[in-house]
């Protein structure tokens, strides 16, 4: 099992906070963990080096806030540095005369075709008249794929089969757009390796003929160390104006985002979060930074939660959680609601601290275990759920009988809950120390 950075940093920081003071040696110890974790998240080796140097410089420096433990201070700096590196999100540049030309480029299988359709839908929703261009004449049925998507969305697709050279297809499409008053042209080019000279030259030709306003690199969030070379070469050859990170609905930590930002310095404009045509989102650097650090993605969780349960409940549950008022009922409620929303471990990972929590509760909380947790808590009285400390041996026997489990199971759950509670208290305490009572490392969290 991967250990997330949260877990590792928590261990290091537990030690640090015990010592209470941040020395250069402390920072070095923490930086080793930060470095390893960033590498595990697929941030490029060289980029990590620079990043760690920047963080270290700031950490050893003077700015130690009164309200934070040294450990929290370091997490905060790492998080801020990542956010800074990820840069601010940017919109598509649709200024000037129409048609605006948008060109999608990238490696094979990165998700260009799907993204083209998503973008077209997104733009139409904002009042544009998009024209899709099928410029991948190489992959079998790539043109057909785009045509099917276009039909599905009722967005026209310009295609000339697979015999016409792509630069010509693209030039024709732009001409057609001008004549038929389309406002945006989105060109789906074939996937290619950045080292394939002929194919890269083709992109240069397309660019030259169509003068795109946006050249977007579509890259897979799962990309490893090569993200740097890929982004760098595409940028050198065709001058990128933005990045789109796809397949963000998986469990990739997405360190490639940092790498690509660092070498191109162009903004991340969208992230792809699913196979459906509306699964395109604006980029949130703070969420991404949290994700790369394995610190959870509180905002996404809350958004997801709102989709499945009513807002009031979410808010109060989250608020109680933040305040550290966390009893067995909350524990169960959280578990139940999260189960409604999808695979448990994935969701738990989105809550700060929960990554560690799930592992402390059980390495893998299966549905079966979940049922058992439910059964045990349901067999408790209200009072017992609120004040688990009153659960003595005879109560345990009763609960075990009532839930068809053993006293041992009950004990196990209680000790898991205690750990969870302790963790929540820790997290809440961190939250209180900060101005505005916000959660450390999660700026903008509208709660607590």
């Amino acid at each position: 099992m991967f250990e997330t950075l949260t877990e590792k940093l928590q261990t290091v920081f537990d030690n640090l906070s015990r010592r209470g003071k941040l020395t250069e040696a402390d920072v070095d110890a923490a930086m080793r963990e930060v470095r390893l974790a960033l590498l595990e998240a697929d941030v490029n080796y060289k980029v990590v080096k620079d990043l760690v140097a920047r963080v270290k410089e700031r950490a050893v420096g003077a700015e130690v806030m009164k309200s934070l433990t040294p450990a929290q201070q370091v997490v905060k700096i790492v998080h801020e540095e990542l956010i800074a590196t990820l840069g601010q999100p940017a919109k598509l540049d649709l200024s000037g005369p129409t048609p605006h030309v948008v060109m999608l480029v990238g490696l094979q299988g990165s998700g260009k075709t799907t993204t083209a359709a998503k973008l077209a839908l997104h733009l139409r929703k904002s009042g544009q008249r998009p024209l899709l261009v099928a410029a991948d004449t190489y992959r079998p049925a790539a043109i057909h794929q785009l045509e099917v998507l276009g039909k599905q969305l009722d967005i026209p697709v310009h295609s000339e089969g697979d015999k016409v050279p792509p630069p010509q297809i693209c030039a024709n499409a732009v001409r057609r757009a001008r004549e038929s008053a389309y406002t945006v042209v989105i060109m789906d080019t074939a996937g290619r390796l950045q080292i394939n000279e002929d194919m890269m030259r083709e992109l240069e030709q397309i660019k030259q003929l169509t003068k795109p306003q946006e050249v977007l690199l579509v890259a897979d969030a799962m990309t490893g160390q090569q993200a740097v070379n890929v982004a760098k070469t595409f940028h050198e050859r065709v001058g990128l104006t933005g990045l789109i990170l796809t397949k963000m609905d998986g469990d990739a930590r997405g360190g490639a985002a940092i790498s690509m930002r660092e070498v191109t310095n162009v903004p991340i404009k969208f992230v792809g979060v699913g196979e459906k045509v509306d699964a395109l989102e604006v980029f949130h650097p703070d969420r991404m930074a949290g994700r790369i650090l394995g610190m959870g993605d509180v905002l996404s969780l809350i958004e997801k939660a709102q989709a499945t349960m009513d807002e009031e409940k979410t808010r109060s549950a989250a608020q109680r959680l933040m305040k550290g008022e966390f009893d067995l009922e909350d524990f169960l409620g959280q578990m139940q609601q999260m189960r409604k929303m999808g695979p448990l471990s994935q969701l738990l990972d989105m809550i700060p601290g929960m990554g560690r929590l799930t592992k402390e509760i059980a390495p893998e909380v299966t549905d079966k275990q979940m049922k058992q947790i439910e059964a045990i808590i349901s067999s408790m009285t209200r009072e017992e759920r609120r004040r688990p400390e009153i659960i003595n041996a005879s109560r345990k026997r009763r609960i075990a009988r009532g839930s068809g489990t053993t006293v041992q199971d009950v004990n196990e759950l209680l000790s898991q809950f205690k750990q969870a509670q302790r963790l929540m208290k820790q997290l809440a305490a961190q939250g209180k120390g900060r101005r505005g009572g916000r959660f450390p490392g999660f700026p903008g969290l509208p709660l607590g």
Partner: protein, 315 residues
């Protein structure tokens, strides 16, 4: 064990050459440094650091890299190695050990009908790899049929059908939106009856391994095969893009859990990526790499040979 399908020496050499060629590009890149690293020089602290860097840059992963380097360091101490070229030999051994697996594949065993399930995340190269496998095995006298069980992605069926025509093998499909299990059911019947085929390769929709429902669907597809043919599916290949970083291990783990993958097809090795994550997959999950994809053309496939793979890194 009697094999229906045995490669000739020339074919093996051609495979090695192809793998070697594809790695050539990589070698000139960061892995190239591995070679220069191993000029017969004195060992220094920097040697170890550079080694670590090189492995990590090859997506081998922090954990595996640290373990490898530590092991080699230890052996260097014990065996009193003083020069970088000696360390190279030891490192190669250790890397090879991580990739060590029995060479036999269920795919090559004789039986009436062999069913191969091909799975992986979106865009990893499943459909292309299936076309390549179909050609490879057809050329060796197998009667191959493909099942278009990616009924989800737009034009996926058409893509496989085009490959089928190019390679000259039948494709069984029910169009987009059909139940993938039903497609596999049909395809197996067709193999056993009208088509008289002995090798069925099933193309499945790309899916992220974290999607609970989609993984369940895959389990169902697997069960359909298992119910119809004794011990099927005989192979379940995970198609892994060599560009993938550490997430590759999570992919392999989830797919193994859901459909018990038996091997990895490592694609896009013609790029600059190394696919170093296969060391972790091989070691931690015991899943061997079986084939490598080295391009977009139908012949761009080679049997994975651990020795060539590791050997080439140090050329």
């Amino acid at each position: 064990m009697l094999k229906l399908f045995r490669r000739t020496k020339e074919e093996e050499l051609a495979d090695q050459q192809r793998l070697h060629d594809s790695l050539e590009k990589t070698r000139s890149g960061f892995m190239g440094r591995l070679s220069t690293l191993f000029q017969p020089n004195e060992l220094t602290e920097q040697t170890w650091e550079e080694l670590e860097e090189t492995l990590i840059m090859g997506d081998v992963g922090v954990e595996t890299t640290l373990a490898l380097v530590e092991k080699v360091r230890q052996r260097a101490r014990q065996e009193g190695l003083k020069r970088t070229d000696q360390v190279q030999a030891v490192l190669k051994q250790e890397m090879l050990a991580l990739l060590d697996h029995p060479a036999e594949m269920a795919l090559d065993e004789p039986r009436l009908l062999t069913v191969v399930l091909v799975v992986g995340v979106n865009g990893s190269g499943k459909t292309t790899s299936i076309a390549k496998l179909a050609k490879l095995y057809k050329d060796h006298g197998r009667k191959v049929v493909l099942a278009a069980a990616d009924t989800f992605r737009a034009a996926a069926v058409r893509q496989l059908e085009i490959w089928g025509e190019r390679v000259g093998v039948d494709v069984i499909s029910q169009g987009q939106g059909a139940d993938p299990g039903a497609v596999v059911y049909d395809a197996i019947r067709a193999c056993q009856e009208s088509r008289q085929a002995d090798l069925l390769i099933v193309d499945t929709a790309g899916r992220l391994h974290t999607k609970y429902n989609l993984m369940k669907e895959l389990e169902k597809v697997r069960n359909v095969a298992a119910r119809q043919v004794h011990k099927a599916p005989h192979e379940v290949f995970l198609v892994l893009d060599a560009t993938t970083g550490q997430n590759g291990l999570s992919q392999a783990r989830h797919f193994k859990e859901a459909v018990d993958i038996t091997g990895v097809i490592l694609t896009k090795l013609d790029g600059t990526a190394k696919g170093g994550i296969v060391f972790a997959i091989s070691k931690e999950l015991g899943v061997p790499v079986r084939f490598v994809g080295t391009g977009e053309k139908v012949d761009d496939i080679a049997f994975f040979d651990a020795r060539t793979f590791v050997e080439s890194l140090f050329k």
